[in-house]
């Protein structure tokens, strides 16, 4: 790809501008679905954008004795990490920046926000924030292993570490959601935990420790961190859609190039919204777990399911692929 088209790809269309707009749209949809399920009307379309701009305009309060520079830099670091992760997920066809191992890079970039939350909790010198930060990291240890296992098994079967190749492999075989159902479920639950949504929103438990690591965030820092969470929701669901639901590809190829792009984008749009619907209904249908209960649930059920899935994949690889 020549550099200008690449720049357009990164900055404009399936890149950052689209990602920001899509993140706001995702937050709107998430709150709207949750509200409708709770018999409420729910926010208007531009509400997330209005919230974002208002938060930018608010006064920024620095707690006495806080490291201002680090506190300003941390949300930006998390936002940057999550937005770069979006470039490796195929949206319109295969992503031009794909390389062997971009799945690992995306997974690494997606864990950065949780670590930044812990950092924020620690930096803001507030007992609620510190406890929230500690809980965020404890929760990360619980769901991270099963989440990685669930997302790496498609790579095992497709035989390549690049998301684009996995999507291409699925074009000629069944989707991984059909081939590896356990992995699909574990991935969805892991994604819900990574985004710290209701069954797993223990760090930000509004009713126990005020707002957890978010307590001392004000003004633009809060805006950036809230945006990071929305963007990571988009990237997470796009990743799960790509790995398990076949990404923006359909089995038979369409001749004119631009038509296949549009169909690809349409598929990407529908699949990510499907994942969002599942996430939103999980959020609405459950209450919050305690951190020690999450520990039991996480290790007993999630981890064993993920390991079982890996075993099945290895067996299938041995018999089916080699035969």
């Amino acid at each position: 790809m020549d550099p200008i088209l690449l720049a357009v790809y990164i900055l404009l269309f399936p890149g950052f501008l689209f990602l920001l707009a899509y993140a706001f749209f995702f937050q709107f949809l998430d709150r709207k679905i949750a509200a409708r399920m709770q018999a409420r009307v729910g926010p208007p379309l531009l509400q997330p954008f209005a919230d974002f701009v208002k938060m930018l305009g608010k006064e920024v309060i620095d707690v006495k004795g806080m490291d201002r520079k680090a506190f300003d830099a941390a949300p930006l670091l998390a936002l940057a990490a999550v937005m770069t992760a979006f470039l490796y997920v195929p949206i319109v066809g295969n992503s031009p920046l794909a390389f062997q191992g971009d799945l690992i890079l995306v997974l690494y970039l997606l864990t950065l926000p949780t670590i930044v939350l812990f950092l924020l909790g620690w930096l803001s010198r507030n007992v609620f924030a510190t406890i929230g930060g500690v809980r965020a990291v404890t929760q990360m240890f619980i769901y991270e292993v099963p989440f990685f296992l669930a997302l790496l098994t498609p790579a095992l079967m497709a035989g390549s570490w690049s998301i684009t190749d996995i999507v291409a492999w699925q074009q000629s075989h069944l989707w991984f959601a059909v081939l590896q159902p356990i992995g699909f479920v574990v991935a969805l639950i892991g994604l819900q935990a990574k985004l710290e949504r209701t069954p797993f929103d223990i760090p930000e438990a509004e009713t126990e420790i005020v707002a957890g690591p978010w307590t001392e965030l004000t003004g633009r820092r809060l805006a950036m961190m809230r945006l990071t969470m929305d963007v990571s929701m988009v990237v997470g669901s796009a990743l799960v859609a790509a790995l398990f639901l076949g990404g923006p590809r359909i089995p038979w190829t369409i001749t004119p190039d631009w038509l296949s792009w549009i169909v690809g984008f349409g598929l990407f749009f529908v699949k990510t919204l499907g994942v969002l619907l599942v996430l939103a209904s999980i959020k609405v249908a459950t209450g919050r777990l305690r951190i020690d209960q999450l520990n039991d649930v996480g290790w007993k059920y999630l981890a064993s399911a993920a390991i079982l899935q890996v075993l099945i994949v290895l067996l299938m690889n041995y018999w089916w692929v080699s035969a």
Binding site: Q38, V127, T207, E208, I209, T286, G287, L289
Partner: protein, 393 residues
């Protein structure tokens, strides 16, 4: 993990009430807890001594916004008893209807807030939407959604018209099947079961020893219910029974409250259907003869007691209010030690504290880990002896 002192409240999203916990937590488990609730003290008892019977009722209406009818009924019932005056049966039935409707809306409110404590916001929204139906009934009958102002010495201030009765009867079936739905949701929904079962457990003799009242006590098998023990207004001739449970934990208290919701709906239906005719109030003498009345009432949160001393003037010589939440604080403080930090809101919500009724402080200290200088208190003395016995038993 070193000891961390976590101040929760008085401004805290979970507890809609100004209560403050200074919790010394070791990691996630609570080692020591200081509970300070005296943010709501306004000096109502002093003011009550300077207001005559007509002007004291609006003041007592606002001791607590959720159980406002309880405070006025128990006071007015006491004064009528002091004056040895019998109010007409229709007024008694109207008081019972409003009392039970208040219990329904209070329990629905509690159920929503308890679900909100564990992050289950959907149930919070649903229960509060159903509560709006009860609010409409109350608004039609008494003119105001909260603080109804329907009581006065000698009877009731507003009569129920047949249309209001029909409108109320039409709403009851919808509420009944919603509450039946909530009952089996409590038994089936996974996260609620995990977060409610076995949390804040108190055995029957714990409850009796610590003097807990209301649904908190009935959830551990103690069947004290003033409507049955010392029947007042129209409870003697309305068919209903006391709901008790044996679990003793937050789950048990939820079941008791849902059971009481269903009983209250039955009482309201019975009272609406055979509301006796006749006047709704009688003229009473201005002054109450000298006397001492202990007026008891079963408020939604438990046994509410007004101790009234009258000295044949038109004012009260002394009014001593003991609210149900005050009795429950001792038991909740003891049951909180050893629990998880995350469980504080759920356990405290389980006694459904009405802070504007009470304003007291309790300090509980579990001798297990010594944390700095020991704070003196009768509960710590009790807590130590209680836990040493439990440790040995």
């Amino acid at each position: 993990m070193t000891e961390v002192v976590v101040p929760i409240g008085p401004h805290h999203p979970a507890l809609k009430e100004p209560v403050n916990f200074k919790v010394v937590a070791d990691g996630e488990t609570i080692v020591r807890l200081e509970l300070d609730v005296s943010y709501n003290h306004r000096g109502i008892e002093k003011a009550a001594e300077q207001r005559d019977f007509v002007r004291v009722v609006p003041l007592l209406e606002r001791v607590c916004g959720i159980c406002s009818h309880s405070h006025t009924t128990v006071f007015v019932k006491g004064i009528e008893e002091a004056m040895k005056v019998q109010i007409p049966p229709r007024a008694q039935y109207i008081r019972t209807i409003v009392a039970e409707l208040e219990r329904i809306h209070s329990h629905l409110l509690w159920f929503g807030v308890a679900a909100h404590e564990i992050g289950f916001n959907t149930l919070f929204m649903w229960t509060w939407r159903d509560r709006e139906a009860v609010q409409d009934m109350l608004e039609e009958m008494t003119g105001n959604r909260v603080n109804y102002g329907i009581n006065e010495v000698g009877g009731v201030r507003r009569d129920l018209t047949p249309e209001q009765i029909q409108a109320a009867l039409k709403r009851l079936p919808h509420l009944e099947d919603r509450i039946a739905k909530y009952r089996d949701m409590v038994n089936k929904e996974a996260t609620m079961m995990i977060r409610f079962r076995g949390v804040g457990k108190l055995s029957k003799d714990d409850i009796l020893k610590l003097g807990a009242v209301g649904p908190t006590a009935r959830a551990s098998g103690v069947d004290y219910d003033i409507r049955k023990d010392d029947p007042y207004i129209a409870y003697a001739d309305v068919p209903w029974q006391v709901i008790t449970d044996t679990h003793g934990d937050v789950y048990g208290r939820t079941l008791v409250r849902i059971g009481e919701l269903q009983q209250s709906l039955q009482i309201v239906r019975y009272c609406l259907e055979n509301l006796p005719a006749g006047p709704i109030k009688i003229t009473t003498p201005r002054a109450a003869p000298r006397g001492e009345i202990l007026s008891r009432y079963e408020a939604p949160r438990g046994e509410l007691v007004h101790f009234i001393r009258t000295n044949n003037t038109d004012k009260v010589e002394r009014l001593d209010i003991r609210t149900p939440t005050l009795a429950n604080w001792t038991s909740v403080a003891v049951s909180l030690v050893h629990q998880n930090l995350a469980d504080i809101p759920v356990i405290v919500a389980a006694i459904d504290p009405c802070l504007s009724c009470t304003s007291r402080i309790t300090i509980v200290n579990e001798r297990g880990k010594k944390t700095g200088e020991m704070t003196w208190d009768e509960l710590s003395a009790h807590g130590r002896e209680f836990y040493r016995k439990r440790g040995r038993a």
